[in-house]
């Protein structure tokens, strides 16, 4: 007799989840109630059911008490149903004789402070799970083919790193990058703290690996416009905009063509600090090393064609769409730089720039002995930290259309202080003032930047959360175009007025760039607007949609080393799924009870999947009968067929009508509290 045929002996296990559940739900009361449910052989509670110790208890109970069904009441099944099915399997029980009751996300986390009624609800849900599990049958997973191919969306540091790691693991990769060039925001950083190499050097190293790998196909100037599917089989439509230049051309001729291009474009390069032509290279040494034409600004005057020839330039190249079929997706769409709003800390005044702009200005300054911003030699430079980050309702006046960002952007302190020390090293007469709320040089070795800043006698002022500095026009006595007034907490709240030739707003990272994927794949987004992983500790970099991982700053503000670490993790997790021959999927398919089926064919009429369900004739006991038959490879398990059968002869495995009726009985066994 199989386990599912024998009389049910159910084990029920209630998790405290530390205090996440037990702070609201009386777990002991749930266990006490569960012990009296029909067929329950044992009911226990544990601080963490997902711990090895608690799983061992389940395994021992299966073996020692002869359990043939298990219910765990804990967090969402999206987190741990697989864990506990595996536990059952290790105890020798078919993993499909398991049911999950979600008493954290759907009880304790939504019913805080309502102990009695929340406990009653937990009892209700566990009773329903017990009623259902008693009717479950032993099943085997369905083996489905997996496309050994990943889509990486985003060609910045994280995307490049993920693509390289996936290819190394033997997975084909299609990398889609929105801009014509690889590298993302990192290409606009100067020297990086701690490792003292430039962002361009880091991205070049990663991009060379990817571009040289035959397993990686790189689509630049491209965006995912449609995407759908499921783990093992996603389909994306990628729109590739025309590049206009067919391949590498001789540098001198390219330079001449760029010089001849009459169209100036502001803003795409250098955070608005400089312009480029409609025909452009992002920078010398950018990758791919092929120029691109910005067709939004190109007038098709033909001057580049005159210099480079029609073999090199195609002004009539159309945009194209192509379909990519993959088994998994890595979202590495990065972030948007926070852009201050008008008048935020003087934004809009000449001489007020953001930190990314300062870095770009430094890059453009070359070997000059003085720093020039907005046409003025800078002797006094004030940096204001936490612009656009750690905002407080009522203190920061957020314009309509924007949302308050209470989060710390994490990277800005180190970036600002590191660049300040670079400034001091390059421009000996430059005075740099740091206006901070706190200093959060949190990363490994980042504190050394702070120490170096002290050694270089950078001056720090600490302003109160509720009283941000004020940027105003300088007075004649200031001998500077700007002045910053700050209440300095280091000097017990003294008001300090700092004349400034330039003010640098230390801005952080804002979410952005993944709208299409969020909308079409229904990816979960946190209150901060960044993508939210399933669980920060237990399932990092995994998104709730199976087969979709997140890499880098699409998830939260990160340093480059954190981005690459997250990207490597995402790649490994994706590779783990995609390098299998097949995926084991839950057998959520329709199943016909031949003893009840009379071959009416009504189920077939409802089925939208050609060939998944058909009525066949067969011989039973010497007579020809008609019976519905399911092709499990084609059935999607929607259940459209179930509702119409007049004989209740068809069900979806794991969600039969009998199980659902039993759940309803259990949920209504007692009135709600």
């Amino acid at each position: 007799m199989g386990a599912s045929d024998a009389a049910p002996r159910i084990g029920i296990y209630v998790c405290h989840c530390g205090g996440n559940i037990s702070d609201v739900v009386d777990c002991a009361a749930v266990v006490q109630a569960a012990a009296d449910f029909p067929h329950v052989a044992v009911a226990r509670e544990h601080s963490f059911m997902c711990s090895d110790a608690a799983q061992t208890v389940i395994i021992d109970d299966i073996r020692n008490l002869g359990l043939n069904r298990v219910v765990v009441a804990s967090c969402s099944p999206s987190l741990h149903a697989t864990t506990f099915r595996s536990t059952c399997e290790r105890g020798g029980l078919n993993p499909y004789l398991y049911e999950h009751a979600n008493i954290r996300e759907q009880v304790s986390w939504v019913h805080g402070g309502q102990h009695a009624s929340a406990t009653a609800k937990a009892v209700r849900l566990v009773r329903a799970a017990a009623a259902k599990v008693a009717l479950l049958t032993a099943e085997r997973p369905i083996e489905a083919p997996v496309r050994r191919h990943a889509l990486v969306v985003g060609g910045g540091v994280a995307g490049l790193c993920a693509a390289g790691n996936l290819a190394e693991a033997g997975v084909d990769v299609t990398l889609v990058e929105r801009s014509p060039f690889l590298g993302g925001h990192a290409t606009e950083l100067g020297k990086l703290a701690r490792i003292h190499v430039t962002g361009r050097e880091v991205t070049a190293a990663l991009a060379h690996v990817v571009l040289a790998d035959p397993h990686v196909r790189v689509l630049t100037n491209a965006e995912v416009v449609r995407i759908g599917g499921h783990l093992g089989d996603f389909e994306a439509t990628v729109r590739v905009r025309p590049r206009g230049i067919r391949g590498p051309v001789e540098p001198d001729r390219l330079r001449a063509a760029i010089d001849a291009c009459p169209e100036e474009v502001v803003g795409k390069v250098g955070h608005g600090t400089r312009t480029h032509k409609a025909l452009y290279l992002l920078y010398d040494g950018c990758l791919p090393a092929v120029a691109a034409i910005d067709f939004d600004r190109c007038t098709r005057c033909g001057r580049c064609v005159e210099i480079l020839g029609r073999d090199a330039v195609d002004l009539d190249e159309p945009a194209r769409e192509e379909t990519v079929q993959v088994g998994g997706v890595v979202v590495a769409t990065g972030f948007e730089q926070y852009e201050p709003y008008v008048d935020e800390f003087g934004w809009g005044k000449p001489g007020v720039v953001t930190l990314p702009q300062l870095i770009q200005i430094l890059h453009e300054t070359g070997d000059a002995k003085t720093l020039t911003i907005a046409g003025r030699t800078v002797r006094n430079l004030v940096m204001i930290h936490c612009v656009g980050s750690r905002q407080i309702d009522g203190v920061h006046q957020i314009p309509e259309g924007r949302t308050l960002n209470p989060q710390c952007s994490r990277m800005c302190c180190t970036a600002a202080i590191y660049n300040s020390t670079e400034l001091r090293a390059r421009f000996a007469d430059l005075r740099v003032y740091q206006l901070v709320r706190d200093v959060r040089t949190y990363g490994r070795h980042h504190e050394q930047c702070y120490q170096r800043a002290s050694e270089q006698r950078l001056l720090f002022f600490k302003y109160p959360d509720h009283e941000p500095p004020v940027v105003s026009d300088g007075l004649p006595s200031d001998d500077a175009p700007l002045a910053v007034t700050v209440q300095d907490q280091f000097t017990r709240g003294q008001t300090v007025r700092l004349p400034a030739d330039a003010v640098v707003l230390v801005t952080g990272m804002a979410p952005g760039g993944a709208a299409t994927l969020i909308e079409q794949l229904k990816l979960a987004v946190g209150a901060d607007g960044f993508l939210r992983e399933v669980h920060p500790k237990l399932r990092p970099v995994e998104l709730a949609v199976q087969g979709v991982m997140v890499a880098g700053t699409a998830q939260s503000p990160m340093a480059i080393e954190e981005s690459t670490a997250a990207a490597a993790a995402a790649a490994v997790k994706a590779a783990k799924l995609l390098t299998r021959e097949t995926l084991s999927l839950d057998p959520q398919v329709a199943r016909v009870d031949p003893a009840r089926c009379e071959g009416t064919g009504r189920c077939v009429e409802q089925c939208a999947y050609g060939g998944a369900l058909q009525v066949v004739e067969r011989t039973e006991s010497g007579r020809t009968v008609r019976r519905a038959e399911v092709n499990e490879a084609l059935c999607k398990g929607c259940g459209a067929c179930v509702a119409v059968c007049p004989h209740n002869a068809i069900d979806v495995v794991g969600s039969t009508l009998a199980q659902l009726y039993a759940s309803v009985d259990a949920l209504t066994a007692q009135e709600v509290a």
């Binding site: 969402s76 099944p77 999206s78 979600n102 954290r104 996300e105 759907q106 986390w109 939504v110 019913h111 805080g112 309502q114 009624s117 929340a118 009653a120 609800k121 209700r124 849900l125 329903a128 499921h230 229904k522 990816l523 979960a524 987004v525 209150a527 939210r532 709730a544 949609v545 959520q588 409802q606 939208a608 999947y609 999607k636 398990g637 929607c638 259940g639 459209a640 179930v642 509702a643 119409v644 979806v652 969600s655 009508l657 659902l660 009726y661 759940s663 309803v664 009985d665 949920l667 209504t668 009135e671 709600v672 509290a673």
Partner: protein
């Protein structure tokens, strides 16, 4: 509309939330992850798609004492082909049956909830609660369930 004699006053209404495994169940999880609150007189059942449920199921649930049923489908974005249209048609037919039995058809409502539709989730629960506050708990004996 139901008459007062068909209601069982004094009982706290019980709302059944029929959720889809791919969409509204994760949506309910998202509500929890954001620690947003809704009443405890709710019970979530997870199914592949409510299109699988025959009319009898709804009547049975009402008969058993659920006072309101929110059918939280995946809407037009269901991963299953054509199920939303079929579901809508079936619930339309159910409305006729409820009316014929003298049961307020507002006790069963179809809505679409995605994995991140937290506001819509809370709004639907609130609206159903308001409807049930208005019409009161169901008298289970008034519901006829076909064999």
């Amino acid at each position: 509309m139901e008459t007062s004699t068909r209601q069982a006053p004094g009982r706290r209404p019980h709302i059944l939330l029929l959720t889809t495994a791919d969409s509204s169940y994760p949506g309910a999880d998202t509500v929890g992850q954001m620690h947003l609150g809704y009443p405890t007189n709710t019970s979530v059942v997870r199914i592949p798609d409510p299109v699988m449920l025959p009319e009898r199921f709804y009547l049975y649930a009402l008969r058993r004492g659920f006072d309101g049923i929110l059918v939280m489908s995946s809407g037009a974005e269901s991963p299953f082909q054509g199920t939303y249209q079929k579901l809508a048609a079936r619930l339309d037919a159910l409305t006729g049956t409820l009316k014929a039995q003298g049961i307020d058809f507002r006790r069963v409502k179809l809505c679409s909830i995605c994995t991140v539709c937290t506001a819509a989730f809370l709004r639907e629960v609130k609206r159903m609660s308001e409807v049930l506050a208005e019409i009161g708990p169901i008298d289970p004996g008034s519901v006829t369930v076909p064999d």
